[in-house]
């Protein structure tokens, strides 16, 4: 098997860019959220400081092997997800490791981190972690459904499962984006997107005082730092998929930055405007509002 070894440094470069972008973007979004509350909010570089601090914590404890593996699974999931999807359309350099699999691989790899995190948190033996996981898993099953339907509609629409080809089909003007050619699918997917971002109204998973932030309640120091790293990468990786599928992908880093930011902003926007759902409410909400859109989008194609 011939393998282009240059792909590795290129992939690492993508990772580096996205990592930094993610740290800044999440801080920026947090600032926007703060502004909505008429605060200044955290400094833009706060995420870097937090990360350094957490890596710099001197002591740590461990609950067992799976406790270690939790964050590792989580970050592997984030990094893998990022690398399995081409970031910049038309760029051989930033097509990453997408030769390994298509859209389906990306969709299922999302769960890799989720599952690993759930296991790690479970190993801590903390009931709140388990409660948080049950909520998270329960919610994600409902939230993933409209996304799956939308993705399927898109795959049907373009008759391919290759992300690159889907992006290619959307080139040549904004009106070729799936957002305009298949608005129902995009609507369904964006509602699903809300559910997967752990922001209000779907953040009961992390209820800070009831079940002190749920799954990661026992995580600290370097474990937490690893998970924070993932917090920077994973949402971007996910948004990259949305961007590629629905919003024409990106042909350059600035376009990438703008699109990712706007998509991210959507969840932040909804998040600051709405209060929290209980889990069963959010499940019903997804089934009643998002799923029919997805169904329609599939029947439409």
């Amino acid at each position: 098997m011939t393998f282009d070894w240059m792909k590795i440094p290129y992939a690492l470069l993508t990772l580096f860019i996205v990592f930094n972008f993610g740290l800044l973007l999440t801080a920026f979004i947090a600032k926007i959220g703060a502004r909505a509350g008429r605060r200044h909010g955290i400094p833009i570089w706060q995420n870097y400081i937090d990360l350094i601090k957490n890596y710099g914590q001197r002591s740590s404890i461990t609950h067992g092997v799976m406790f270690y593996l939790g964050p590792v699974f989580r970050l592997t999931g984030g990094v893998g997800l990022l690398l399995f999807v081409p970031t910049i359309y038309g760029s051989e350099m930033f097509s990453n490791l997408s030769f390994a699999g298509d859209l389906i691989l990306a969709l299922y790899f999302v769960f890799f981190g989720t599952l690993g995190m759930a296991l790690g948190a479970g190993e801590s033996g903390h009931p709140h972690a388990a409660i948080g996981i049950t909520r998270g898993l329960a919610q994600v099953t409902a939230a993933e459904l409209p996304l799956a339907l939308a993705v399927f509609a898109v795959a049907l629409q373009y008759q391919t499962l290759s992300v690159t080809e889907i992006v290619a089909a959307q080139q040549g003007g904004m009106m070729n984006w799936t957002m305009f050619t298949n608005p129902l699918a995009v609507a369904a997917a964006m509602l699903a997107f809300l559910g997967s971002m752990m922001r209000p109204p779907f953040d009961v998973v992390l209820a800070p005082q009831e079940i002190p932030i749920g799954p990661p309640t026992e995580y600290h120091s370097a474990y937490l730092a690893l998970m924070q790293t993932n917090r920077a990468i994973f949402p971007i990786a996910k948004i990259v998929i949305y961007m590629n599928l629905f919003f024409g992908g990106a042909t350059s880093w600035p376009e990438f930055a703008v699109k990712v930011f706007l998509i991210y902003l959507f969840s932040a926007f909804v998040g600051v405007c709405f209060p929290r759902f209980r889990v069963e409410q959010s499940i019903r909400w997804f089934l009643i509002w998002a799923v029919p859109l997805g169904v329609l989008s599939i029947l439409w194609v």
């Binding site: 955290i42 350094i52 601090k53 914590q57 600290h220």
Partner: protein
């Protein structure tokens, strides 16, 4: 509550009986370790700077002073812009604010919460009550001097201190941290026996391991 910590004999599924000693089987018995700064100075300085710019307070209001902390999150004071945030779990928090008088009952919880935080960690005493008991100086139920029980890095006086005072106090704490002088966690580990003796003197129903990992 102590009964659960007594030794008990249980029968396994294979019918064999054996003894369970909760303090040994369910809790880690290791004493706290001292974690001196080990990296090169420049690295430690970086870390200290980061620690000072990223203070995560444990969201635990121990007394009436807790009410003065809430405004810090509001637009008026907005402590976030100074890198100060609240975390709901001690594992992730760096700073324990003892907000006002501390009843013996709460002391127990405060000790647990403190011990479960990771090194380095800081304690700030808020209000007069943490210094000398304040108006409760003769109460049967509150402790008088906080630093007999936990290593306090900083006191913020007043009854009550205003949020502005808190902010000022945090800025002072940051200076201490940056200077590498906020080593309360190591101090606690070094003088562990002394602290424990003091703690046990006031907490009569001691129903936990000596160190709560």
């Amino acid at each position: 509550m102590k009964e659960e910590l007594l030794k008990r004999v249980v029968k396994g599924p294979d019918g064999v009986e054996f003894e369970v000693e909760p303090l040994r089987d369910y809790y880690c018995e290791a004493p706290p370790a001292v974690h001196p700064p080990v990296y090169a100075k420049i690295v430690e300085d970086l870390f200290n700077w980061a620690r000072s710019q990223s203070i995560w307070i444990l969201g635990f209001g121990t007394g009436c002073g807790a009410i003065e902390m809430r405004p810090l999150m509001t637009p008026r004071f907005d402590a976030y812009r100074y890198g100060i945030q609240w975390r709901p779990t001690p594992r992730q928090a760096n700073l324990l604010v003892i907000s006002g008088y501390l009843s013996v009952k709460t002391l127990k919880r405060a000790i647990r919460a403190y011990e479960q935080m990771q090194n380095p960690k800081y304690v700030v005493g808020l209000g007069s009550c943490t210094i000398n008991g304040g108006m409760y100086w003769d109460s049967y139920n509150t402790i008088k001097r906080l630093d007999d029980y936990l290593p306090v890095d900083l006191y913020i006086t007043g009854c009550m201190p205003r949020p502005e005072a808190l902010l000022a106090g945090f800025e002072d704490l940051k200076k201490l941290i940056r200077a590498g002088k906020a080593e309360g966690a190591n101090q606690y580990a070094e003088n562990f026996d002394w602290y424990k003796t003091n703690q046990k003197r006031v907490i009569h129903d001691w129903d936990m391991p000596d160190y709560n990992w």
